[in-house]
């Protein structure tokens, strides 16, 4: 007969996931006189983060994806597309990626290594000023459904 493993509960993880607030705004003020070099660096970083977001998260989190549909149902259409959200912190994105949320499964460090997750989280949590204006058409996204 198999002995029951000692490990009992995942509750500590779930609690951590749920109490990490998503509601903290990204009020990171842009420096008034940013050094151009640094801005280039962040733009480059967000760019890499966006590519990785599409590759690793895009299965479900682009337009028409299952994650987008579920988020839209739960939080409203304005909150459905992760890459257009302005209310998510990098820490929250990283935690949810690792522990999952509702029906979203957790992601291992082989599927999304820490270095990639840092870039993805920085992209999702980028300041509002770094967001593409909403008028820009989502032409490169999956458009079916």
């Amino acid at each position: 007969m198999r002995t029951k493993p000692r490990f009992r509960s995942l509750a500590p993880f779930m609690l951590f996931a749920l109490t990490t607030s998503a509601a903290i705004g990204v009020g990171v003020a842009h420096p008034r006189h940013p050094r151009p070099r640094r801005e280039d660096d962040s733009a480059q970083k967000f760019n890499e983060g966006e590519k990785l977001f599409r590759a690793r998260c895009g299965y479900c989190h682009l337009a028409g994806g299952t994650g987008t549909i579920m988020l839209g149902r739960r939080l409203g259409k304005d909150h459905a597309l992760l890459d257009q959200r302005t209310d998510l912190t990098a820490a929250y994105v990283k935690t949810i990626t690792r522990v999952g949320l509702n029906s979203m499964p957790p992601h291992t460090r082989i599927e999304v290594p820490d270095t990639e997750l840092d870039l993805i989280a920085a992209f999702i949590a980028r300041p509002a000023s770094a967001h593409t204006p909403p008028a820009s058409p989502p032409s490169t996204r999956a458009t079916h459904e």
Partner: protein, 519 residues
């Protein structure tokens, strides 16, 4: 939280093995934090995820690294559970059968080594996902089509090794395997078929090689770690023709199977259509609470209201003909005539021609939207698949459908089933969708599963694939001559893997070292 170590391994030796693994793959690819272990658990499991908790995971990047890991595992007697991308959702995901097993995660081995347009095949590593191969073919405009399962998040190799299927004429994915590279439990590397010649000209062309054929011995198996797979791909047809129909009554599935099976056998219909109940469509669009908040399974009258709102029948049929326009038209005529004997309804016909958007073609286009169903009950959704194989005839299909539906209703779970039709048999995938936070419900689901396995075994039906928690139950139903097949499987297992380090318990095959762990 405490680590569940592999059986009979001391903490000290476990640590030594992890250090040795790190010496092969680098420290960053040995995953052994609490969070890491959690990411490899089956989160959709109905309350029994901790029965399959791994102790760690290790991620090699090449077949040579796999060999080195397997040798270390032998030295320290560490059991390994190979996964390709770990998306065996509904069947245990990335988790191992035996708690404490180390997951051998092949997700970093993502090379598409060759795609051959003329002969219609690819040679790929286990970490290649359906989306990766699809993007590769599309970006290079290679006119080869894939067979893709309903939820395509996973690995092409992993899915074929679990006997997954898609819906094109190449839909029986395990049948498309042609030539494997495998690391044996000893650490030795072998190539099957004609790949056993060091200069083989036909490795991905001729399946059988010389003497016994081994490809299928590594499918749903724990005899080796597949590090490369040859897989046949379908040439893009000139045209396709789609035939869709909604069947209004529950018993319509019977005559539909009887009408279609001879057409599958004769080759008029070359793909394997899925006849699914329409609740699966509704469940991807809306939450259950929108329709019904009472106790028990969704009542029939509520289901009728939902179906009529969406203009759906009880079952939906979606057939597709692939090839040349004239031939498709001729075959469509034969199918229509077969259906006209049973219904006055006409098929909704769609056509696709080469050059038009691939999404409308009936090609395998990867998507993950099928996963939507797990949100049906609300809360933290989970799902489990019960998938018996039956003869493709109304007699068997109707009996199994009614008996399964009744079992679901007895425990208050909504019936969600489909019959995928092959030439001679049909695979009846039944999903149980539940709220993981509702302990009473998950416990009822776990009991139901055992009852369904026993019911099916009485009728002489086996499962085509099953969840980790029921691998022993299903293996037990293969009882001819006092379980002679299990003795054969385990004789081979012990010969190839004397230390029992590779996937103990997979498909109910236990190596001598861990045979006491059999449920």
């Amino acid at each position: 939280m405490p680590v569940v170590l592999p059986p009979n391994v001391s903490e000290k030796n476990f640590q030594k093995a992890l250090d040795a693994f790190a010496g092969v793959v680098g420290r960053q690819w040995v995953l052994a934090t609490d969070e890491d272990r959690y990411t490899y658990m089956d989160i959709y499991a109905p309350g029994d995820a901790d029965e399959h908790i791994p102790s760690a995971a290790v991620g090699p990047q090449s077949a040579e690294e796999v060999q080195a890991i397997v040798r270390i595992a032998n030295e320290y007697k560490i059991p390994l559970w190979p996964i390709s991308r770990g998306k065996n959702l509904g069947y245990g995901a990335a988790a191992p059968e035996m708690p404490g097993t180390v997951v051998l995660d092949l997700g970093r081995m993502k090379r598409i080594i060759e795609v051959n347009e003329r002969f219609g095949y690819c040679l790929i590593e286990p970490g290649v996902g359906f989306f990766d191969l699809f993007a590769h073919l599309q970006e290079r405009k290679i006119p080869l089509w894939m067979s893709v399962p309903a939820n395509a998040w996973g690995s092409v190799v992993g899915n074929a090794l679990e006997r997954g299927y898609g819906y094109t004429p190449y839909g029986e994915n395990t049948r498309n395997i042609c030539g494997l590279e495998v690391v044996l439990p000893s650490g030795e590397i072998v190539r099957t078929g004609t790949g056993a010649m060091s200069n083989s000209a036909c490795w991905q062309l001729f399946k059988y090689g010389y003497g016994p054929s081994w490809d299928q011995a590594f499918v749903q198996s724990n005899y080796g770690v597949v590090t490369k797979m040859g897989m046949w791909l379908m040439p893009e047809p000139e045209a396709t023709l789609g035939l869709k129909m909604q069947l209004p009554n529950p018993d319509d599935v019977g005559w539909a199977v009887d009408a279609l099976q001879p057409l599958r056998l004769s080759g008029v219909l070359q793909q394997n259509p899925s006849i699914g109940n329409s609740l699966r469509v509704v469940a991807t669009q809306t939450p259950r609470s929108q329709w019904y908040q009472g106790d028990g399974a969704l009542p029939d009258d509520v289901l009728r209201t939902i179906l009529s709102k969406y203009n759906l029948g009880w079952w939906g049929i979606d057939l597709r003909l692939y090839g040349y326009d004239e031939v498709n038209e001729a075959h469509a005529k034969i199918i229509k005539a077969a259906f006209a004997k049973h219904t006055k309804q006409e098929f909704e016909v769609t056509k696709w021609h080469r050059g038009e958007p691939i999404e409308d073609s009936g090609a395998g286009v990867p998507a993950t939207r099928a996963l939507q169903i797990i949100n049906w009950r609300g809360g933290r959704g989970g799902h489990l698949g019960f998938s018996p194989v039956l003869p493709a005839s109304s007699e068997h299909v109707l009996k199994q459908f009614h008996s399964t539906k009744k079992r679901y209703e007895e425990i208050g779970v909504d019936y969600y089933g489909s019959f995928t039709l092959f030439e001679r048999y049909t695979t009846n995938v039944n999903m149980m969708v539940y709220d993981r936070d509702d302990q009473a419900m998950t416990s009822r689901v776990r009991n139901l599963f055992k009852v369904l396995v026993a019911d099916a075994a009485k009728e002489g039906y086996s499962e085509y694939r099953t969840h980790l928690s029921y691998m022993d139950d299903v293996a037990l139903s293969f009882d001819y001559n006092n379980h002679a097949l299990r003795r054969l499987n385990e004789t081979v297992k012990d010969a190839l893997d004397p230390n029992g380090i590779l996937a103990p318990g997979k498909q109910g095959i236990w190596p001598k070292a861990f045979r006491g762990s059999r449920a």
